[in-house]
Subunit: 196 residues, 2 copies
DNA sequence: TAAGCTACCAAGCAAGCGCTTGGTTTGGCA
DNA sequence: TGCCAAACCAAGCGCTTGCTTGGTAGCTTA
């Protein structure tokens, strides 16, 4: 059914199925409104059996987030490596992030953004360290473009604006609509490099 | 303490004080993690007394959202009316929205964005109708700019991207920092009209 | 001064929550 | 065949939650 994580090797294990189901439910109803009984029911086991695989409900949330950050950081790295020019890298980064956020890992990514504060401070810090690697890939590419004079504003701020643009997409983008992901990527890239 | 709503006339009533306290707590901890006991304690009454003013916890959330939408729609209307050129209107709209979202009504606006799904479908629909008026003000201005050839992409999509850019600001913008709200507004406007 | 209203308190109920416990099934391997 | 660990069940504990109830203090109006 929901193969939201789509990370090879984990989806056929009980743990992997639990993570996928949890990501789906967390995105649908939010972490707090999802009960362990909901998660258990959606994979067909009893609620107590969940704690054989995870020691707390919050641990499930963290596991979802960790997996999706790792997976999408790898994707971002490949995107950068496949392009040589900073312009090409920017477009590849935007496409990769859109793919993460409204494509194959949409559910887990949305959970990452919207349920962040449901993590304990400890786990927030741990996740933030993983996230920092992801962000650095963006900043490197944006700094290169900035030095070339492609845009004048602070690359750090531009990255924040890009985060907002892509992060909001799940709330309106329709994968079945006429606007493709690549179209949208181009439109977003234009917000940085201009309409030329 | 928290005068987050800052709408004249409501803040000195018990109801108004409850709404301000609720907005503050909802933003801090989220709707689900805020208990009616939390809200009651922060205005110094017993938890049961809340239900003399609101008939349910969800009603409090809806009241916060309704007030802030109305207040900021008025602000947006004034912003548009004060400018004659579409370019001027766009800048005024961006400034007004940033003011809403990281300025005087920051707490309630953040709640509006992040706790949306905690509303019942009925109340979501009601709030959406109010929100539609707000959005139309944006689309009118963006359509005018589009017809003038200021940007080439779909005004509807541009509005979505703008929503993301401003809506994400609470997560990073620091009002005490060196970047002012007007600075940020200019940077965002440049994402639409170009760097020229 | 008596009625009436707003605002509140003190106490607690019913339901749902995360999680624990002790025991049972299942499949792979010696 | 006998064994073991992984996976799961059935039951329920202790706690928190939103909300209800019945009553009271204090101000306003006639």
């Amino acid at each position: 059914m929901a193969e939201s994580l789509a990370i090879n090797g984990i989806d056929d294990s009980p743990r992997g199925r639990l993570l996928s189901a949890a990501a789906h439910l967390f995105r649908d109803k939010g972490f707090d409104r999802t009960t362990v009984r909901d998660i258990a029911a959606s994979v067909g086991i009893q609620s107590g059996s969940i704690f054989h695989h995870f020691k707390s409900k919050e641990d499930i949330l963290y596991a979802v987030m960790e997996e999706v950050i790792q997976f999408n950081t790898d994707r971002l790295r490949r995107a950068v490596a496949a392009e040589s020019s900073p312009q090409g890298q920017l477009r590849a980064l935007v496409r990769a992030e859109l793919q993460s956020i409204v494509g194959d890992t949409a559910e887990a990514m949305t959970v990452l953004v919207t349920e962040w504060r449901c993590l304990s401070e400890d786990k927030q810090r741990k996740a933030l360290e993983l996230r920092a690697i992801y962000e650095q890939l963006w900043l490197d590419a944006l700094n290169a473009l900035h030095e070339q004079g492609v845009f004048r504003d602070d690359p750090f701020i531009i990255r924040r604006l890009l985060t907002g643009m892509t992060g909001w997409a799940p709330n309106w983008f329709d994968r079945a609509g006429s606007l493709t992901l690549d179209d949208l990527a181009d439109i977003i890239v234009r917000r940085v490099v201009g309409e030329a």
